[in-house]
């Protein structure tokens, strides 16, 4: 806790120093950004942007998670399929996905669909990979225990497999959370009239440094906080031997 506060203080200090070095034209000071942010938050317009992003993000995350976990479970349980798919997935993970933008636009049209799709293509692969690896690496004696207790297949998945791979799924979700958000924002930067991604591009093109810095600040805080919460849940409720 104290370490976190100290780090936050250091980060803000570094930010201030950067501001002092690079100047008003490049990055707003922490105080200004905060003030602008609080002003921004008070406007209704801002919330319509935030809601737009949140809607797309929630949809994208839900799809990424469901698809990623489902696919990961299936590929993990079917070893052959898993080994076929894994390098393909990690290859896909490594491609610069912005270049796919035209294709996404083509398939999903404009607006929410494209944003969600963009979020999903960023987020689904890490979640799949983490789940797959977890299922593949599950301690076989746990499955044997389930058999020794004569559990049905469904019971085995529900009461043994799922909780056993939960820690890795949570890690996958943490990564997936961040990347899905990134994907949605990138999507909004290309084609949208609303959303925080739009606010950022808008801020850049109008050279509204305060707005850009404020929105990024908010995103960073949200992302770090969400990750912190997931990390905390992970530590609190997952008992690793």
């Amino acid at each position: 806790m104290i370490d976190g506060v100290v780090t936050a203080v250091i980060a803000i200090g570094a930010w201030q120093a950067l501001h002092a070095y690079a100047g008003e034209a490049a990055i707003a000071s922490p105080l200004k950004a905060l003030r602008h942010l609080s002003g921004l938050v008070a406007t209704a317009g801002f919330w319509s942007h935030a809601t737009a992003t949140l809607t797309a993000f929630a949809g994208a995350l839900a799809i990424s998670a469901a698809l990623g976990i489902g696919l990961g479970l299936v590929l993990g349980l079917r070893r052959f399929a898993g080994e076929v798919a894994e390098p393909i997935l990690s290859g896909l993970y490594a491609i610069p996905k912005v270049t796919l933008y035209p294709v996404i636009l083509l398939i999903f049209g404009l607006g929410l669909g494209a944003k969600v799709a963009f979020g999903v293509i960023h987020g689904v692969i890490p979640i799949t990979l983490f789940t797959l690896t977890a299922v593949k690496g599950i301690n076989p004696v746990l499955i044997r225990t389930a058999r020794a207790m004569r559990l049905s297949q469904a019971d085995t998945i529900r009461t043994v497999l799922a909780p056993a791979v939960l820690p890795e799924i949570v890690t996958g979700l943490r990564v997936g959370f961040s990347l899905t958000l990134l994907g949605v924002l990138v999507g909004e930067m290309f084609a949208s009239q609303r959303g925080l991604g739009f606010l950022i591009v808008n801020g850049i093109s109008l050279h509204n440094v305060k707005q850009t810095t404020a929105v990024i600040l908010m995103l960073v805080v949200v992302a770090v906080a969400a990750n912190g919460v997931l990390l905390w849940l992970d530590r609190r409720f997952i008992h690793r031997p």
Binding site: V141, L142, T145, T159, A164, H239, P241
Partner: protein
Amino acid sequence: MAVVAFADPGGGMPATARETHAALRGVTRVYGRLAALGPLDLDLAKGEFFSVVGPSGCGKSTLLDVLSGLGRPNAGTVTFEGAPVDGVPDGVGIVFQEDASFPWLSVRDNVAFGLRRAGMDGAEIARRVDYALGFMGLSDFAGAYPAQLSGGMRQRVCIARTLVTQPRLILLDEPFGALDQQTRLLMGDELLRLWRETGATVLLITHALDEAAMLSDRIGVMSSRPGRFIEIVETGWPRERDSRIVADERFGQITARLWSHLREESLKAIGKSSSRKTSVP
């Protein structure tokens, strides 16, 4: 196959005098091209304490697999309480060689796991679990998670989890492997007490000869791979016994007998299979 008795059969529990509880007939098990087990016969009498000793990799765990119905034999038949075994039958409890505690459940929930899945009534679960925890010296750790326990305690959790289901045939694969030798013998005493109190049939796989000699009615000595029984030693211990019998002179004789076989088998095995991989660059 020689059968050796170290005492008047009247004192102990000769297999022949009792009803057969589980039996293997001409059982073999092959992994790929590797013959792991058999052909092998075994009759477990109802209520007897049978130990299996043998060099590492000789097929002891494989024997347990086949007997429990977790794995199928490639040839031969397995029966439990008169019925052929296909899948793990009701009434069989298994404790594995590896730590099989569920890390996401507390000790209490681990122990209650099997009963909950079987849909038992809550009060009865609580009663049985409390008893098992006490029996295994885990009462103080009911709320702890496996990650907070030592390897030996985790293994005790697994034993408790199996015992609460009150199996009639208990299969234990090196359950004390994670314990130091002193604690092993103390746990052995607990196991003997349990066996006496429940009247279950016990099959114990172990590396420790003194453990086998101290605990068992009969000890099956296995050859190196593919495992077969080269000798079955009857100890003739009374049903009422504990680790103090190590002072008995028969104990030394039994151990020496086991040793003479195993020294030989070990010498064979160490050259061939001390590496698990068959091909090495």
